[in-house]
Symmetry: C2
Subunit: 213 residues, 2 copies
DNA sequence: GAGTTTTTCTATAGATTTATAGAATTATTC
DNA sequence: GAATAATTCTATAAATCTATAGAAAAACTC
């Protein structure tokens, strides 16, 4: 559970000045520490003391990195989210058969979960404790993601591959629901295999449970 | 959002002595008030003051009904759960075609959500904040429920109606995941139609998204 | 290495929160 | 209606939590 790698997003915003670079690195560590603690104890259950301890600093020092506890939650929820939506855009833009796209979408979702699990878990479970003002960016990104999914389904229908009697809006929400539900399971249970889970999820979404007649 | 009706469960345990009956009634009101508050603010975000205010009593008086805040969470999570599992048992015991059973299961789940929404929401989202000792009953009931679902799927396979290459364990979890995800949506969005949602959920589970060839 | 900037620490104000004890009130019983 | 039991209230102890201010330490610059 390191969640490193995509320091990129935050690092990119930092100037090349060594000072800022070092700050940015530690800021990422702070976000990831907060993500771990919030994932474990929930926003209200976690204390700034917990987060500071997770970073190995004193409680008061935490405020060098976060303006407030609430700001920390917001940053955790937004952490790497736009990269994730970006990846979704790429998947949807590709010229591939519907089944392959769906597999790629589920893969992206669950892979992201198994890599950025804490931040994603916190986003899914705790973001509603943020006041609406702090959720505008999240809402936008979430809507973009869902629309891409709906669009992909609509394309599948247009190609005659997907049933034309489904409600794309409903199915999009359902897919997100299944993926998040399995994401949480993967988080909880180490013995689960990510790729096995991916297979089964997309299989269920595509084919359902009934035998073909 | 009254959540009355099934006072039965708790009332049944109370002796016929008028005293106990009145206490039991108010205790149910306490559980439902706690459910509303926990659903809204989360376990740690809610205060005993909030729950007391919701009941129209003073903070200290709340301890006449709950031994502790944690005990209140446990009681909310367990509230009406065993009735719910009981209903599931009846559905599964019936001699009906697989499709009808699945529709009944989804209906039971989502109908329960729209009636006992607060307690169910709290159960789904907050129960893990309880220490393991307080979750034994919940765990048992949950396992029973999932097993019934798995068994129903297995019967469907035996009858040749359900694909024999699915993993019943995985599919059972997925069904629960979809239902809970839509339960939460129904909770949030009043404009959604419960029966429409039920239709769509079971349709997706049964037939998936692809056209038959 | 003196001076400057960044990072961390300590200490604390001020507000909340859970849970308890004992008094006060209300309801029930005979 | 006096005696008893149930319910609610008030007041408070004890613990905890966020956020801030200013000092101390560490890192960096020239």
């Amino acid at each position: 559970m390191t969640e490193s790698s995509s320091a990129d997003a935050v690092l990119a915003t930092a100037n090349v000045v060594p000072h800022r670079k070092k700050y940015a690195r530690k800021k990422i560590a702070a976000i990831e520490a907060a993500a771990r603690v919030f994932a474990d104890k929930g926003f209200h259950g976690a204390t700034t003391q917990d987060i500071a301890a997770e970073m190995g600093i004193q409680q008061g020092s935490l405020y060098y990195y976060f303006k407030s506890k609430e700001a920390a939650l917001q940053e955790v929820c937004e952490y790497d989210f736009s990269n994730y939506v970006q990846r979704m855009k790429k998947i949807c833009a590709k010229d591939q058969p519907f089944e392959a796209k769906m597999l790629a979408i589920v893969t992206s979702h669950l892979t992201n979960y198994s890599q950025k699990s804490n931040a994603m878990k916190v986003h899914n479970e705790q973001r509603l404790y943020l006041p609406a003002e702090r959720r505008v960016v999240l809402k936008e990104l979430g809507t973009t993601y869902r629309r891409l999914l709906e669009q992909t389904l609509a394309e599948g229908i247009a190609q005659g591959l997907v049933r034309n009697d489904i409600d794309t809006h409903f199915v999009a929400y359902s897919i997100i629901g299944i993926c998040n539900s399995w994401g949480a399971n993967l988080f909880r249970d180490d013995s689960l295999d990510v790729f096995e889970t991916i297979e089964q999820c997309s299989d269920l979404i595509l084919y359902g449970t009934l035998n073909k007649r």
